[in-house]
Every structure is written in structure tokens, then in C-alpha cells.
Subunit: 692 residues, 2 copies
Amino acid sequence: MSDNGTAKIIFQPSGRRGEVEKGINIIEASRRIGVDIETLCGEKKVCGKCRVRIEEGSFEKFGVVSSLDHVGPWQEEEDKFITPDQKKAGYRLACAAEVTGDLLIFVPEESRAGKQVVSKAARDIEIKWNPAVRIYTVTLIPPTFKDPVGDFERMTHALEKEHGLKGLNIDWFTLRDLPNIIRKDEWTVTAAVWMDKEIIKVWPGKVEDYYGIAIDVGTTTVAAYFCNMRTMEVLDTVSMMNPQCKYGEDVMARITYHMQNPGGLERMSDDLIEGLNDLIRKACEGTHPPKKKKKGEDGKIVKNKDGQAVMVETPEEGKTYLCLETSDIVDLTLGGNTAMHHILLKLDPQYVGLAPFPPVIHRSLDIRARDLGININRSSNIFIMPNEAGFVGADNVCVLVTEKPHMSEELQLIIDIGTNGELVLGNRDKLISSSCATGPALEGAQLAFGMRAAPGAIERIKIDPETHEVDYKVIGREAWLKYSKPEEMKTKGICGSGILDVLAELYLSGVVAKSGRFSKNQKSNRFRKNPDNPRQKEFIIAWANETSIGKDVVITQKDIRQIQLGKGALYTGCKLMMRRMGIDKVDKIKIAGAFGTHVAKDKALIMGLFPDCDLEDVMSVGNAAGDGARVVLLDRDMRDEANWISRNVEYIELTVEKDFEQEFMESMQIPHMKDDFPHLEGLVPEEILHQK
Amino acid sequence: MSDNGTAKIIFQPSGRRGEVEKGINIIEASRRIGVDIETLCGEKKVCGKCRVRIEEGSFEKFGVVSSLDHVGPWQEEEDKFITPDQKKAGYRLACAAEVTGDLLIFVPEESRAGKQVVSKAARDIEIKWNPAVRIYTVTLIPPTFKDPVGDFERMTHALEKEHGLKGLNIDWFTLRDLPNIIRKDEWTVTAAVWMDKEIIKVWPGKVEDYYGIAIDVGTTTVAAYFCNMRTMEVLDTVSMMNPQCKYGEDVMARITYHMQNPGGLERMSDDLIEGLNDLIRKACEGTHPPKKKKKGEDGKIVKNKDGQAVMVETPEEGKTYLCLETSDIVDLTLGGNTAMHHILLKLDPQYVGLAPFPPVIHRSLDIRARDLGININRSSNIFIMPNEAGFVGADNVCVLVTEKPHMSEELQLIIDIGTNGELVLGNRDKLISSSCATGPALEGAQLAFGMRAAPGAIERIKIDPETHEVDYKVIGREAWLKYSKPEEMKTKGICGSGILDVLAELYLSGVVAKSGRFSKNQKSNRFRKNPDNPRQKEFIIAWANETSIGKDVVITQKDIRQIQLGKGALYTGCKLMMRRMGIDKVDKIKIAGAFGTHVAKDKALIMGLFPDCDLEDVMSVGNAAGDGARVVLLDRDMRDEANWISRNVEYIELTVEKDFEQEFMESMQIPHMKDDFPHLEGLVPEEILHQK
């Protein structure tokens, strides 16, 4: 046992250990020790994802005597997620169990927060070269008694004479570098100028290439596009999980974390900023071509005083390539949803979480890199994308900057499905937006076996209409179950893009009726009542021997209800917006985000996720949010346009629209039964489509 | 003895002690332990002011065994300042002696850096109310579903509607305070707006008074004028020694300290900023009226969580007064000479110290308080006055902003005497400036008994023309010697304003000839050859028994030469500038700075410090630099004017002017013998004026 105030904790199977003060819960202990435990609900004891097992005994090797007595009292919320047998075996919810002494804790695989598979490659989009930061080289005449004018004025006179730049300012931090830099290469200097008005960096001599990064901060994933600002080339795309996931899976969980934990906002922001700095460093270290070096061809790496790689000589080409220092990044743009925006900027997000959901600010911000703690050139101004509304954030502005519906004749419906659905409808005449509480089910969360798009997640499924036998494919494995041995599948759960597939197949095969209920006549032994809760019906997707968690992966009646709620919310949103616009048909449907990339359009239409449309006119626009951040990085006029969009798209609060509840109730059915889905013909068997 | 790497040091008589690493010199040890030792030359071993005595023996009380063996080897430069007898007694130069073991060090009184008497009261000057920062109060309508616009836009819409402010930005740090502050007092909020474009502070509810500070950073003295920005009232003037004095008395010594000590620039800047923060805190704590409280009437002081006084209740008036928090200061202006400007801003000052002396920047800067580390409202932009030239800095711009010679018909000569003389000549048609190396003698430095204007310094003197007996007055004592007992005088040396007096009296009484040499026939026993250096003649001003240092205070032939060099440089500057302008007479002479306040005009004219002028037209303009910083604090148009001045006053480098050396040689005589001093008639006895 450690001394009175602290306790030694060891997490298995990772073996990570550390000492923490008593009184914190196991989740908090896991964070401090660097172990990732799932906590989808943000420690509200309602998701049950953070189950861990306390091991009893004396573990001399570690100097730990662990005991069930070393955790705080059992809490009634734990009864929901932990059976009496499990309780006896030492299971607790990590968010409910307080550390009161030394502990050896086992984290079961399903409770481990896995690394997500991220697909955020940069798209080819047309961008005008008009960056906010440009560089200019001048050669100065050294001062004399007849012309003793100061360094800054000497440089700005030359910049005005040779490049027409008038009235330039300079940031103090750059000014401090100036006197020695202009004398370093015989009075030749290259200046980076922001918005034609402020000098934010000086290099000795002539510089030709310069660099910027566009970052899309998602609730779950953060992606950075590393660009050569001269050529507009995307040199690298790097991404990571949003480090805030450990504080809660969705935006409301994080807002709650802020409200319940003093200093929580700063902690979440600082974690993200630390993550962004890692991402930026990675991008800089990876910029030396050739990108695909074989092992043993690494070339000679020259490092600077900080141990950072600066030059790489590749003997086979006889060339030297420059690795960048992070201080060579002169511009950076950031976009995200309103809650991510607020949490990153340490703006109190509590009001954006409360009706009528006003954000702290709509318009874009220019924040010095040093103020934000982002490790790029310290004088640079980071461009923060504007927000449309409390639940329609900069990520949506990014989508609109890229998709430009306000410049089009066609009536477009743009759908960005995340935990929150964001909708934009209209054309050059008018644009309206709204958000709908699709809930986390469409992303695979809060389902019995829902999980993120990580290895082991079911992403595609087929159910035989006759036998109701199941075939499926998991992320990280090419072969479907049919072509694999069961134990090779290592299935863990179902991810977002798989969810619609699963439900559509259940429906198409008749396992589930249009109402969303399991049909009465079930042919296969995959249908059963839950052994622990006989009132809960479920359908087995993967048998225990196909999984890495040792139990059947099922979809329950409750899960199906969750999915129906999500898809119903989205459809209701689309429908009420169309009613507002006075239209009953759209010309194009664009689905943004990872969901759009992975979802099968036909399955989405079958589910009634969006209004009827020719599948030819339904398209995925990929990570439009990331594209938008890249557009404003390279074309400063688009920054004004983003601000214009953020203030000229009319936000509709759907929940206060007339008949909202009635519409929502109707929208939950599968498929939508009205005659407004002509394009379903041929996609769904007649007997299914017209069943009662 | 302490362990291998460190040594224990005790300084007497202060008794301050500490542990330092071996290898540093005693000056550096004194800095770290917080003892002030004079070092006029910036540790170049040329001023001899830092003599200290090493005490030998075992000082058990302190656990120190001190020995002459615990200092590094004797250096030949020390021979100049320390006699063989003194050497035997343990004297060393603190800048030359290295700490190699435990030491008990005695600092003689003449080596202690004293606190200077500062006279920097604010003058009554006419200023237009047009501050860069203004405050506005608005009451907002809370958000609804029909109007869910964000907090920032809600406030700026109201500021535009009610106060006509368009396109306002907000600093990120202020934005972070916004959501909770606008909800604190029923949606009424007061915003501080900088330059009609950026919100830099928000308070809940209605605020009427707001505050700013103007600071004059002198090489020796720093003065802060604390102003109510609404009423323009100067609430308080606080001042301090420039904490950089310990790195060297004059600007060249500090530039040298920077060049010889890695990190020296940052250290000097940080010390000054720490001092400025103390000054600001003092100003804020002292702002509660009534200003003159008697003892025992202190009232009840309410302190905030940081222990800072917030409210004072004075029972006799039944009123409550607000003490300010430093974050309530919303604007701050700073002016100083070019070297002080550069060192404060951590701009490499080495080039400004090398011909042709180009500064790093001329124009003004707006630097965020948080960037500079100044503890006022963190979003505020500190206005840094512009520089004219390498040796004509923002202090001179301040003088011109206040005196406005560019708006006058009269030909004015403005003289700012410091270690460096700064001169401006002209009127609305043309203004030229220059600087001249007056040297430190006119400020009392580098003379045998020169010292700062601190208690014990001789500031006035009379010499009987018949007997050559001396009467004088010291700072800190009203009564002249004649009316005092000798031991009451506690004389220590001669300060800047006393120097001209001394020399003029020596000249008027015939002790010194017009050439500056001691006359051949000396009547009094005050004239002697220096006992240690018989070739050096000297005149005793104060006998040892009148002093607190136990030795005669004398003025030497060498001292007189130094003063002649200083006054000659200044006069040459004035004359060459007048030649440039093609004039032989000026309408007004204005003397700025502390020197101007203290010097006797008649003595200055007798010495030929400046060109001939009716004494009626010679005036002191006090601390015009401080006034200038106050003008730009309260009238933002004057900021533009300051920039205009800094670029439109033509700088003349005197040393490259034709006949400079010839003119300089001639200007060193006392008094200037040419016929161009008609106003000397009546001031100087005929026999003295016309002696050969």
C-alpha cells in the first residue's frame, strides 16, 4: 500500500502503471496513467462502455496489494450494466468506482478505446491561388551616415518600391528577428506578408517555397492537410483521433464534462492543442521527397540543435531535401463544429448546449499562433473558420465554401451526418440550414455492439432472404466471413457505415418489418430473447467464435429503435426544410463526411434516410470540411465568403416547427411508406415494399 | 565551505546572504543576492566604482570561512583603482574578482548604488480628449429561437446601432470572458474599444471611469503617470530607478553588457518589465481617494482572492472607494530613448551602438500587454513611441509632441541633456535634430566624486572670490554648510546639477582659468596635488569631516576636463546645427529633463553650455518625455503626429560635419571667448571675462 494520500495503480493487459491520488475515479486514473478506456457518455454512468475488472490479491512483482475493498462503494447505476455474477468477479464501471487504495485493474478488450481507421485523403478541388500569406524577396542597400534609416523602414521602403506594398506593419516577435536576419545574407531578405499588411516572418536570403496547413477538427477525428503555399500542392495528409474523445464521445458529453469539472474546458483544449502540435510536427518531418523510401535507403539525415531532422540526402539521386521546422509553417486554418470550435478556443460552451443555443461568436477569428499555443511560426495568424449557428458550425461553412450551393441554380440538399446531422438546402436564391439530433446511433455508438470505424468493426453485411444466414466483412480484413475461418474474423462490433447496411438487410430479408419490429416468423436460430433480459429481442450477427471478445455480436430491438430515431430525425429535418422552401423535390443530394464516403447510397435510400432522389444525383463529397479549410488557406477571398455564408444562411430550429412531432413519428418507419419514394421501385422486393 | 560547485556569500553591512555557483564575479553574486553595487562602466573594469573589501576569518555565526584565497587572481586593471595598501586590506574590484569559495564581503558606502531622488511630477499641459481606448455601455435583448444570434454579434449589433461603431473585432482573450460577463448583469455590458475597431475588455453592467498609464523609461529613472481616462486627471505619479542600472550606468554600458553576456538582453528587458509591473501595481493600489489619509484613519480595506486591496471604506466620509486591479488598466503608452526602447523590446541594440547607428525600427508599435509581459488588461495594446534616430529616441519625440516646435513661427532650440545630449532646432518650416556625446560628466558620473542626484550629493555651491572659501548645499538637507555643523552635512559627492555650479563658481572666483586649468596663484589650502598622484591637481570642495565617506570630496583637473568635453560637445552641436540652418541666433532655448529643472540658467550660460540667449527666453520644460507619453495616451491623433515627427525631423550626424573637430576644440574653453555672448555682460566680472 502506498502512503496515505496516493495509490499505486496497474492496468492490464497493457501493464502501464503509476501513482495517483486517492479519491479520483478509475477513468481519471486511466487518463493520468495514459490508458485509454472507452467512455462514450462522458462519465455519466449511462453507456456502460467502461467496464473494468478489479483483480484481487498480492502482486509482489509490482508491490501492489489489490482488493475490491480498495474501490469506493457500489453505485446503483452500475446494476444496469454489470450482472450479479460479473459483480462477484470484480467488474465495476470505471467512471463509478473511486480509487481508495492500490489496484490491479484489467481492462477487457471491448472497453479499450481503439485507434480509429481514418480516411481523410485530400480531394482534387479547384482553388484560386490567392493566399493570405505571400512572400517577397528584396535586397537592401546598407545604411550610411547619409542614409541611417532603421532596419524595418529600410526593408519596407524596398518592399513598397519593388512590390508595391504600402503601409506595412510588423509583428513584434518578427521584428526581434529582423536586425540579425537582414545582415545574414548580404542584406537580402525574404519577408512573409499577411493580408498585404503585416510582416509575420523574415528569412535571410531568397526563399521560394513556403508552407501552410489546413486542419479539420472533427469531434472524433482531426485531419491536417500540409500544403506548399507556392504550388498549392498537398504534400501530406496526416490525421489522428481527437484527444478529447477520452472526455466523452459526443459534443454534449464534452460540454457536460466542462460543466462538471472545474478546469475541464482548459484541459480538453490543451489536450487538443498538444495533439495538433504533434500532428504539425509529424507533417513537417515527413515533407522530404521521395515519399516512399525503401528500408535501407534512408539517406543521411542531418539534425538541428533540437534533434529535429533538417536535411535528408538521398545518395541514389544525389539530391538534398529540406525537412521543415515547424516555425517554417506561416499559415494555418482551422474548421470544426461549433462545440469543437468553442472548446478549442476555451470559449464557455455551456450556452451553445442550452436552448436557444447561441454560440459565443459567429464570425471568423485571426488568432496569433503563440496565443493559441500552436507551434508554427509564432507571429502567424491562425484563421478560425466562422460558425453558422449553435449546432451548425465551421465544418458546415467549410462544406458550403467547397460545394458553393449559393452559386448554383440547382436546388441542393447537403447532408453532413455526424453525431449531429447538419443540413443545408437551397440554391443561389436562398439557403437555409438546420441541425437535427440524429444521435450517435448512425455512427454506431450507444448500440449494444456499436463501435467506431476501427479494425474488427462490421462494415458490410448480407442476409440471405431465404435462410436468414449472415455473411459480413470487417474493417481490417479483406475476406468476407464466407471465405474465412470463423476465428479469423476477430469481430468486435458494428460501426457507423455498417449500421445502415445491417438494418437495410434485416428489412430486405424480412427479419425486421417496416415498423422496425422483428417480424413474427423468424426462420433462423440467430433470433432469440436476451438471456439476461427476456423482454429484449435480438438478432445474432456474429457468433462468439467469430469474435475477439468471446461473445455473440447482436443487434437488439432497442438498437433498431435507436437507428430509427436517428434516421427519422434526419428525414424529418430534410422534409421540414423542403416545406419551408416550398419544394417537394431536390436536384441533388450531397452527403459529406466519412459517413458519406462509406455508406451505400441504395441502402440509405431504402432506409429513408433522405428524400427520394435519383441515385445518380446522390453523391458523396468526401471530407468537404477539410477541403474547406484548404480552400481558405489558399484563397483569402474565400475567408470573406465563409463569413458571408455564416451570416446569410438562415438557421431553422426544427423542433419548434409546426407538426414537428407528428412528422418525426411518421419518419421513423422503414421504409417511408408514402408515395414520395418513386425511386425505391426495383430496389426493394415488391412483397416487402407493400407489406402491411 | 559549501560543496564543490557553490559558495556561500554574505554582504555587509546589509547582511544579505545567499549561495551562488563558483566562477561568477562578485558583481553578479551581488545581483543574485539582491545587493546593489555601483557599476557605472558596466563591468568593463574602467570606472573603479565597485570596490569592495574581502573580510578574512571564520564567521561561525554564518557558517562561512572567508579568505582572500576564495577570490580569483588579481587583475592588472585593479591596480588603477586600488592602492597597494588597500590591496593588502582586502580591497578588490567586484567586477574583476571571481568567486572561488565562501566569502564575507564588505561594500563601502561609496560603492553602494543609492536610491535616486526623482522629481517627475506631472505638469499641467493642454490635451484634447481623444483617447485610443473608449468605453461604451449597451443593454442587449436575450437570445430566443427566433433570434439565436451569438453573443459577440449580439453585442456588436447593439454597439453599431447605439454608438455607430462598425465592423468591430474582438481580441480572443476578451472573447473568452464575453459569454459569462454579458449574462452577469442582466445583459448590460460595458465594452472598451481600441481605435474604434477592436474590443479589448468587457465589464458586466455600466462602467463610467476607466484608466490608463503613461510611462517614461529613462536610462536612470522610470516614471509612470496614472490617469483617469474619462476625466484626463493624473491620479498619481509613481517612479523608480531603472532596474537596468545595475548592468551599467549609461546606454553604451548596457549595449556592451548585451554583447558580452549571452541572455543579457533578455535579462535587462525582464528586469525592467518586472519593475514596470511593480510600478503599475503600486499605482493601482494607491488610487483610492482621499489621497492624504492620516494614520489610524485607514478605513477598512477589503482584499480580493489574490490579497490585493479592492475596496477601502473610509468611515469618516461614509464612502467606499474602489482600488483598481491592474487588469482594469486598459491603455498604456511607453516612451524612452532608442537604446531603452530596443532593450525593453528585446531588439538587438548592437547596431544602434555602431556607426551609422541605424535603429531596428523608427515607427511606433502596438504590442499586446500579454506579449510584452506587462500586467494590465491582457488584450490591451501598449503604444510604443516611435524613434527619430539611433541616438534620438522616443523621448525626443515626446518632447516635440509636447513642445510642438513644428507648429511655431519662433526658432526654437530644444536641448535634452542626459548622458547623451539630444538637440532639436527649427520651427514650422524645418526641424533638424542631432545628438552629441556629452558624456556622463554633466550628469556627475565618471568624476572622482561624481554621483547621482541622491541624498548627500552637492547640488549648489558658492566660492568666495576673495578667500576661495566654499559654501554648499547637499540634497536631503535644507541648510547650507555655513549654517550647519560639518558632521551634519554627510556629503558623499557631487551630482549632475551641482557640477556646472561648481565649475562656474571656480571660474567666477578665479580658481580656474578660462582654459579650464587651475590658475597659478591659489590662495587657499583647498588647492593641492593629489597625495597618491602628484601630477594630478585638485580642489577640495568638502573636507573629510563634512562627509559620510571619511575623505575629502575634491574636483580634479581631470574632472574639469571631462566637464569641458561635455559642455563643448553640446555647444558644438548647437553651433553646427545653427550653421546648417543658416542662423546665428535662436528665439527660444528649452531645456528638457531633470537637468533642465535643476540647473541654474545663469551658470549654464556662463559655462557656454548653449548659444547666447536672453535668459528670459531660456526655460526648463521639465519632464517633457513623460508629458509626451501622457499626451499620446489621451489623444490618439498625437500618435500619428509622433510618427510624423519621427520621420520628418532631419537627423544630422555631427561628427561628420565639416570643421567638427576644430569647432569642438574651440568650444571647450570657459567661457566661450568669441563676441557671440553679449548676454554674459553683467553676469561675469570684467576682470574674469577679459582675462587672457
